[in-house]
């Protein structure tokens, strides 16, 4: 006589996760595992015994301090391994991609909203900077900021109607937006140079021109650390919890007062702005810009970075960006078989580490640690 038997609950992961399919349900009565205890994190008793005082070790274990420190060290030490302009170029490209992936990860990994059109925002940012600096002589830094504002506004206007959509429909809508942007960039040749692209002026700030690889490396490395810091800040904050709640259970988030639409729009805009800034800088770095930057393929590449590295993991996004940027450089010796092998690697990683490299390895590590 139960209205719905508790034996057939619709687990939240299937009913409200934005993208779901039959079978990907997590049984709510999952087998009880021993309570995990993080080493070095003191526990408090029940109630008002006050919060734990955190020692230095505990603080270093937090991603916002420890993880960020590791990232900063890697960025600082990496040049010792970079032997030439090509190595620097790959490192810089990794940095650019990683920043976009970190932003996109906030949207896809944490908020659970897919976008197959983010290269479009990157492209708008890039072209805005390229055109205003090269054709109209704006200072590059000003262009970059204005471009970010313009892209932010564009994303804001688009986000509201689009983010009502769920799952594959959202994928389609974002794909459509990206394609429309890319078509415009291709067609408005007087302004953009069309499919052949346009030459872009160098990046100068107050008279200093970013010319040498290490100039760019320092800039991008610094921005990467800042982007990771901002991302980690967001995740572990009221905003971040609201975002993750939207992913976990949209209706639950709503009934405790989270304006889910507002947060979806907010993070869509943030991730678009990340992409825009990278677009602007990238155009100056390459000193050439073509509509391929805004293409569907680039959008898909960015999503692959996020998913491959690990959704809902800031450092996963970095690892994903690094892997996807560097891997083709390692596979060139395969010549005609390059694409075949690249696709196989992608498939195998996703089949065997479906949550992405970093979270899957982390889970493995965790299980190992408990034994």
């Amino acid at each position: 006589m139960n209205e719905a038997t508790p034996m057939s609950p619709r687990p939240s992961s299937a009913s409200t996760a934005n993208i779901s399919r039959p079978g990907d349900t997590t049984p709510p009565g999952a087998p009880e595992r021993p309570a995990p205890q993080a080493p070095g994190t003191p526990r408090t008793g029940a109630g008002s015994a006050g919060r734990p005082r955190q020692g230095l070790k505990a603080r270093l274990m937090k991603p916002r301090t420890g993880g960020l420190l590791v990232l900063a060290v890697v960025v600082a030490v990496l040049p010792a391994f970079l032997q030439n302009a090509f190595h620097y170029d790959v490192a810089i490209q990794i940095g650019f991609n990683a920043i976009v992936a970190i932003g996109l990860n906030l949207l896809i990994g944490y908020c659970g909203q897919i976008s197959l059109g983010h290269a479009g925002f990157l492209g708008v940012g890039a072209y805005f900077s390229a055109i205003t600096v090269t054709n109209f002589g704006w200072p590059p830094l000003l262009s970059l900021v204005v471009a970010a504002v313009v892209v932010g506004l564009l994303a804001f206007v688009i986000a509201r109607p689009i983010l009502r959509l769920k799952g594959h429909y959202l994928a389609m809508a974002t794909l459509g937006i990206g394609l429309i942007i890319s078509i415009i960039l291709n067609q408005e040749a007087q302004l953009t140079g069309g499919p052949d692209g346009m030459i872009v002026d160098p990046f100068t700030v107050f008279g200093f021109e970013f010319k040498k690889p290490w100039h760019w490396y320092s800039l991008v490395g610094g921005l990467l650390v800042i982007a990771a810091w901002l991302s980690l800040n967001i995740i572990d904050s009221p905003v971040g919890r609201a975002l993750r709640a939207v992913h976990g259970s949209e209706v639950a988030a709503e009934v405790v007062g989270v304006d889910t639409t507002r947060y979806k729009v907010m993070i869509f805009v943030v991730s678009a702005v990340f992409a825009s800034v990278v677009g602007s800088l990238g155009a100056h770095y390459i000193m050439f810009l073509s509509p391929q930057e805004a293409s569907f393929f680039h959008s898909v590449e960015l999503v692959i970075m996020v998913v491959l590295g690990g959704m809902a993991s800031t450092f996963g996004a970095v690892v994903g960006a690094a892997t996807l940027t560097a891997l083709p450089q390692f596979l060139t010796f395969l010549e005609d078989y390059e694409h075949l092998i690249f696709g196989l690697i992608l498939m195998l990683v996703m089949i065997f580490l479906p949550k992405g490299v970093v979270p899957s390895l982390a889970a493995l590590f965790k299980r190992g640690g408990e034994k």
């Binding site: 998913v307 696709g343 996703m350 479906p354």
Partner: protein, 291 residues
């Protein structure tokens, strides 16, 4: 001008029928597994390229067509068995990436196995255009439309009248319940991938005389097919067909009456508008969220 209007309509139907056939493949797999298979365009490519190369190797054309379709179906089986089935609990985004990976693999394999050139097949019943009310249409377009219609009818019959078809529908609605009543769910999934691949291959054979084919032709066709399936509404094969036809017709009228530069953009704007008012596509299931 009537002739002009009808010509645009024919033009739209030609492209639209192609999109519809590819969209149908998306719908079929989605129906059974709720997976969007981004390698669907590659099935179309394999059907066309396979036929071309078998024929070039001296296999009689009709036999080449059959072998290419069966071969592509086997690729579909393999994709389900070796990739999709191995990922029971993967999120849908992960599955999307896996099927994108599969499409890269298939393109890479085709590039090595076949070549990078464009190829074509002779039209089934000659190249003579048919005049209708001052407009012309090629007989191959009629083949595409006719076979698409036939496939829709056969699919309707299959899903509504046969036990196996009903089993697929049941699996789509509730895989657990389907399993409990004795349906071999993994067989159903395997079958749907095979059917969808075969359908893609048929599309490939049908459209090669119109568009030609090469190892990368699947990318754009996949994209359009996906758009068609979404516009029509997921889970409804009939919707995918209508979605494809609408897409083709919007492009043709856009190119004819407004601007050929922005005809693709217009098609996507129509899709966005449609989704804005109908978030589950034109014929998709609108469910109230149960909490």
């Amino acid at each position: 001008m009537l002739g002009e209007f009808i010509q645009y309509l024919f033009s739209g139907l030609t492209s639209g029928a192609i999109y519809a056939l590819v969209g149908l493949g998306f719908a079929l797999i989605y129906n059974a597994s709720h997976v969007i298979n981004f390698a669907q365009g590659e099935f179309v490519m394999l059907g066309g390229m396979g036929t071309v190369f078998l024929a070039a190797a001296g296999v009689p054309l009709p036999l080449a067509v059959v072998v290419a379709i069966i071969g592509t179906a086997c690729v579909g089986f393999a994709l389900e068995k070796l990739a999709v089935e191995q990922t029971k609990n993967a999120s849908v985004v992960t599955l999307i990436i896996i099927t994108i990976g599969a499409s890269i693999v298939l393109r890479g394999a085709a590039q090595v196995l076949f070549d990078k050139q464009f190829h074509t097949l002779p039209a089934f019943s000659g190249d003579e255009p048919i005049n209708v009310l001052g407009a012309t249409i090629t007989s191959q377009t009629l083949w595409v439309l006719g076979i698409t219609a036939l496939i829709v009818v056969v699919l309707q019959w299959f899903f509504n009248r046969t036990l196996l078809g009903k089993a697929i529908l049941a699996t789509s609605v509730n895989p657990l319940a389907a399993k409990l009543v004795g349906i071999n769910v993994s067989f159903v999934l395997l079958l749907s991938f095979g059917m969808s691949a075969a359908l893609g291959a048929i599309a490939g054979v049908l459209i090669t005389p119109i568009t030609s084919t090469n190892f990368e032709v699947g990318i754009m066709l996949g994209l359009k097919g996906f758009s068609a399936a979404i516009l029509g509404g997921l889970g409804n094969p009939f919707g995918a067909v209508i979605g494809g036809l609408i897409l083709g017709i919007v492009e043709a009228f856009g190119a004819g009456y407004i601007s050929s530069e922005y005809k693709d953009a217009m098609a996507f704007i129509i899709i966005l508008l449609a989704l804005f008012f109908m978030p589950s596509g034109l014929f998709g299931k609108k469910g109230t969220e149960r909490v």
